[in-house]
Symmetry: C2
Subunit: 307 residues, 2 copies
């Protein structure tokens, strides 16, 4: 009923960052793509194989130094149910190596439907008299445009099964301000959403002071990130926008508390395709990803007080 | 690049309603559940079989009188990739009988990710040199909390492949007002979102005057629905909240224009579980669903000017 499990993992690895796994098969190393197509033809089966080979190698290269992965659901759904099966494989594999898994699906719906998403992505689903795990992530990103109805069923499952959610507050993209920055009597929509996170998380126990309701606040808006850290003392942050989207270590520093906790920073393309930036042969994509993860870790921890 | 295909289907069937397919396997007829468990045990395979048997029978009973189905993604994802495979089966089967398919997934993300959702749910995905259809729905519900970035990639695919999206404006649930009703200088957030729909849909050709950008406006707020109809002359409405959620025919009437067009009303539980309300044996669930769909059609069309 808090983010303690994730925080312990961050302290253990001394690394407040998460590797985003959003693989686009047209961008992954050609030898993985070609080998799968040779075996399965140009099919969704081949795409599934590519996702599994690519993700498995990345997880093997990262699991001892990076506390968490964040698969982005869209990049699996685009390959149909085969892609979704690769998502489940990825979640299971990362968990088997002790990583914390955040499914980035940005789900949001009315109560009865949100209950189905909560069971599917975080909890268990009843079939006959037994319970089964559909995806079994540790945390889920959530869109609360529909209000509290969208959060209540998630909170229940988070409390019962020690899971967490990250509610979208201030996202990292360029047009995020169109709705999120609107000022309502001296308070923006993203601040309003953040205040709701504090309310929804009330009354939960945590060794580190952070409830099970976290918030997404982008690295591309460093002042807002820093203000939100002060405004929301019990809300753990997932910070996208580092790396390929333009955010640097100085930009994310304000998202952390005085102990160097309170946030986890995501990099997806920066880690997945590090071999391109490093000019290394594509066969070394996993080692390149590890090198970039270490560089990112050191850059961020040098700016904050994480011990 | 408009909702003309859906509107033609509505005129052909003289029915502006859509059957929501959100099956919960603990609520469907017991004989379907028990038969699948006998064959596959208490497994996700069994759940997939239940979804397919239930949906196929409903589609068979409805396709000649109901223009569209609206599967709710959560109720498939909760059964893992097997459930997602049943979603694809359902979409394909309904399309093969000429129905228009609206996937209710409420997706919303930054540009590059939204492009992946757009390809997956509406368009096609490239594998090697060929294009493949992951889900292939005709329309998708979308959450635009992230702003225009979330809409641009969808618009592109809608224009190229004659698809549509429904953007969440005023949802049907109780707590929808927490965010959506906030007043910003004389305009609510849901009105702001609706105005954006008009902007995003500008410059599209349509025989009936409605662009490819539609809006979700709930039946449970009839005054707002009626006001939004007048405010957004080029935005086609998907209207949830009829039936089980409490909305009646008088509540939805204001969502239609003077020709009885401009909106499609959804009923999910009211149609799927009609046999319970009608007190008929569960073996007659499909006939009961057809009877309810006819009752709903006649009730709604009696209130509007659809010819």
């Amino acid at each position: 009923m808090s983010f303690d499990r994730l925080i312990k993992k961050i302290i253990e690895t001394k690394n407040p960052s998460v590797a985003g796994l959003d693989p686009d098969i047209m961008q992954i190393p050609a030898f993985i793509r070609e080998s799968a197509i040779r075996e399965y033809g140009e099919t969704f089966e081949a795409a599934e194989q590519m996702l599994i080979v690519f993700n498995t190698a990345l997880i093997d290269a990262l699991y001892d130094i990076v506390p968490a992965i964040k698969p982005q659901a869209a990049f699996y759904e685009m390959y149909g149910w085969h892609g979704v099966r690769a998502l489940k494989y990825t979640i299971d594999y990362a968990k088997s190596l002790g990583m914390f898994v955040i499914t980035d699906a940005k789900r949001g719906d009315i109560g009865s439907t949100m209950d189905a998403y909560a069971k599917g992505h975080l909890g268990t689903t009843k079939i006959g008299r037994s319970e089964h795990t559909a995806f079994g992530a540790d945390a889920l990103t959530v869109n609360a445009y529909l209000g509290s109805d969208a959060i209540a069923p998630l909170s229940e499952i988070c409390k019962a099964q020690d899971k967490g959610v990250f509610v979208l507050c201030k996202t990292s993209n360029k047009s995020s301000g169109e709705l999120q920055d609107i000022d309502v009597s001296g308070r923006t929509i993203y601040e309003t959403m953040g205040d709701l996170c504090e309310t929804w998380g009330e009354g939960t126990d945590s060794e580190y002071g952070y409830s099970h309701i976290g918030a997404v606040v982008g690295a591309t808006y460093p002042q807002q990130l820093s203000d939100m850290r002060k405004r929301l003392p019990h809300t753990f942050f997932l910070v996208p926008g580092y790396g390929a989207q333009g955010g640097g270590a100085a930009d994310v520093a304000g998202g952390f508390d005085e102990n160097g906790l309170g946030a986890i920073v995501n990099s997806s393309r920066g880690i997945m395709y590090a071999y391109k930036k490093q000019g290394r042969p594509e066969e070394e994509f996993a080692q390149a990803a590890r090198a970039e993860a270490i560089r990112m870790r050191d850059e961020i921890t040098s700016m904050i007080g994480l011990k």
